[in-house]
């Protein structure tokens, strides 16, 4: 992967402190967060220069494994709702290339144009015969974000639909139909500290149109977006080859992976839309920003064993620390 200044300037560096612990780190959307290199967070749906390559990657993954896209039957309205909401979002943020028009105010027929992909389609909201694919697949072919839709019923949230091709060490196909609390069951420490139950309560109270965001992070080898449990055979060994390989290669092979997650209450279905956007930056690029290299070192050094294990960093943390101290300009 070739890196440019823009990738660094716009990178959502996820560490506000030298120590990382799980927290209900939700903040309102729509505000730019300053970083040591620039800033991020102007938009909820972010199109960058990797638009086409990431959409191609998503199409390849979906063709190889259709289970990455799922919609339980009762979630069909939520999928339409998500699609229309995302189209409105794109049209508002990228008016030069994206446009949504209602053909007639008295029925639900819309015209959607995406000039970046040469798309010009007319569809009727709720009528699957008017779209080339299912609504969530259709819009996920036009955004870089992964999407999970949570239904709210019986006092809980349920992960009942989504298109997830860039999962970080989890499986959407396994989690589909589980409750929010079940999905987060394996996360260490969060139960005693009630992080997940608090987030759950908070999300259930989101009003229509309200949205919040948070970041999450991990490390990935060789810039792979798809590190889902299903393809572990393909990427699992990369951690070992990184750990056993020459230290000077770690800067280009090991990536800090930040997920910017948006939580948006959909207006018609009442579902909560989870947008997960994955940004990857190699350690060599991180090290061009002194404050980031130093912060990343402190966080990794301090990270307790159970969290290291859960995030799958047991093999890569050592090389990461050694590389930052040897080549990254960090004084331990």
């Amino acid at each position: 992967m070739i890196y440019r200044n823009a990738d660094i300037e716009n990178y959502p560096f996820p560490f506000p402190r030298d120590q990382y612990r799980y927290s209900t780190n939700l903040e309102p959307t729509g505000r730019r967060n300053a970083s040591a290199a620039g800033g991020w967070g102007d938009r909820r749906v972010d199109i960058d220069r990797r638009y086409r390559s990431e959409l191609d990657e998503r199409a390849r993954i979906l063709a190889a494994d259709p289970s990455r896209s799922q919609c339980l039957p009762h979630m069909v309205p939520a999928c339409w709702d998500a699609m229309l909401t995302l189209m409105r979002e794109l049209a508002a943020d990228y008016p030069a290339t994206m446009r949504l028009d209602r053909i007639s105010p008295d029925d639900n027929t819309f015209r959607w144009r995406n000039d970046l992909l040469g798309i010009d389609d007319t569809f009727t909201f709720g009528d699957p015969a008017t779209l080339p694919t299912a609504p969530l697949d259709y819009i996920c072919g036009q955004i870089q974000e992964d999407v999970v839709l949570l239904d709210q019923r019986a006092g809980q949230l349920w992960g009942d639909a989504g298109v997830v091709t860039f999962a970080a060490n989890w499986s959407f196909g396994f989690d589909i139909g589980m409750s929010f609390l079940q999905i987060h069951g394996p996360v260490p420490r969060v139960h005693s500290e009630k992080v997940i139950t608090r987030a759950h309560e908070f999300l259930m109270r989101l009003e229509p149109g309200q949205s919040f965001r948070r970041t999450n992070w991990s490390l990935t080898v060789d810039g792979k977006l798809d590190t889902a449990t299903e393809t572990y055979r393909e990427w699992g060994r990369d951690r070992r080859t990184l750990a056993e390989g020459p230290l000077d290669e770690v800067g280009d092979r090991l990536f800090l992976r930040t997920e910017v997650q948006h939580l948006i209450r959909l207006p018609h279905s009442g579902a909560v839309m989870f947008l997960i956007r994955t940004y990857l930056l190699p350690f060599a690029a991180i090290a061009t920003v002194d404050a980031w290299a130093d912060r990343l070192y402190r966080v990794l050094e301090d990270l307790p064993h159970d969290m290291t294990e859960y995030k799958g960093l047991e093999r890569t943390r050592g090389p990461a620390l050694r590389w930052l101290a040897t080549f990254g300009g960090v004084t331990p």
Binding site: L72, H74, M75, V76, P77, A78, D81, L84, R102, P105, N108, F125, G126, D151, Q152, R153, A154, D160, E201, R205, E207, P208, G209, P267, H268, S269, G270, A271
Partner: protein, 317 residues
């Protein structure tokens, strides 16, 4: 005329219609350009009718990016004045309202929806039926109303056709429901909106028929939680002032009357806007907002409906 808050919509009356004796339909459009937010079945608008006063009315019209919102309001001569204000509106008047909210949404994975409306309680049921038809959900609707007081009966007939049953009295409704409640498929959910007595009767009939509580959903059209009870006093933690709360007023009303600015919206213990931190004293929770855990913690209350258990509650104010 009240001013719009940060998350409120500036609307304008674009149409008025009398649906039947005492019930008026008001159509509201955006004062400026743009589309209105889509909303979920069972949603309402909190309409501002005087400074600090909001009444919630269910939305009955189209739901997906509509050009207009519609509400139907029965003139309640014993009310606080909100419905009289609505009945005095004229086309072109400006109205401030909340964005749509829902506390009475359909359960997406229900196998079948039994929708029961009593009187003006028909309003949220109309949008439930609209969505059920649009998304091809399995449903039936029962509407009980007094002769002539048949708001939205035509809409329901057009939408639901043979899935609509119209009845004329409480006993007729109960007889009908008692038979149906044993008959509808397992996995059905029941939704009732109407006067409290009707909700109680239908709900207990369902429980008697073996329905699980989680499958029963109700929305009272009048303020369910009675504000009244034994008088008590609230001590304000910061100033030490003592605010008496009379038997027929709510703690929120008493605080507002003393000039203490407590943000509030629904005044029915639903929206969560007026939540206060409690330092001491027992709380008689009457809201539907706080979780069981939060109630158990005893450090928060919704002053629009909830009261002190004893003669005093201490607030972080």
């Amino acid at each position: 005329m009240t001013t719009a808050g940060p998350n409120e919509l500036p609307l304008r009356v674009t149409g008025l219609r009398t649906l039947c004796e005492g019930i008026r339909e008001v159509t509201l459009g955006l004062a400026g350009d743009g589309v209105l937010p889509s909303f979920a079945p069972g949603s309402h608008l909190a309409v501002g009718w005087a400074d600090g006063e909001r009444n919630s009315y269910s939305l009955t019209g189209p739901m997906v990016e509509p050009r207009h919102y519609s509400i139907s309001v029965r003139h309640d001569r014993a009310g606080r004045g909100g419905s009289a204000w609505v009945h005095s509106l004229r086309v072109g008047d400006d109205v401030v309202a909340s964005r749509p909210r829902s506390a009475f949404a359909p359960v997406a994975d229900a196998r079948h929806h039994v929708l029961v409306a009593g009187g003006i309680g028909v309003t949220p049921i109309v949008s439930h039926v609209r969505a059920a038809v649009m998304w091809q959900r399995s449903f039936e609707v029962v509407y009980v109303h007094r002769p002539g007081a048949d708001a939205h009966a035509e809409d329901l007939r057009a939408l639901a056709r043979d899935r609509l049953t119209i009845l004329r009295s409480g006993p007729e409704l109960l007889a009908h429901m008692k038979a149906r409640l044993f008959d509808v498929p397992l996995g059905a959910h029941l939704y009732v909106c109407g006067p409290e007595g009707l909700i109680e009767a239908v709900t207990s009939a369902a429980l008697d028929a073996g329905w699980h509580r989680q499958r029963l959903h109700a929305e009272p059209f009048a303020s369910a939680a009675a504000a009244g009870g034994a008088p008590f006093a609230a001590r304000l933690g910061r100033s030490g002032a003592l605010v008496p709360v009379g038997a027929e007023t709510s703690l929120l009303e008493a605080l507002l009357a003393r000039g203490i600015a407590v943000p509030n919206l629904c005044r029915q213990g639903v929206c969560g806007e007026c939540k206060l931190t409690v330092r001491g004293g027992g709380i008689d929770h009457r809201d539907t907002y706080l979780t069981d855990d939060e109630r158990a913690a005893g450090d928060a209350m919704m002053p629009c409906v909830s009261r002190a258990v004893g003669d005093r509650v201490e607030l972080e104010l």
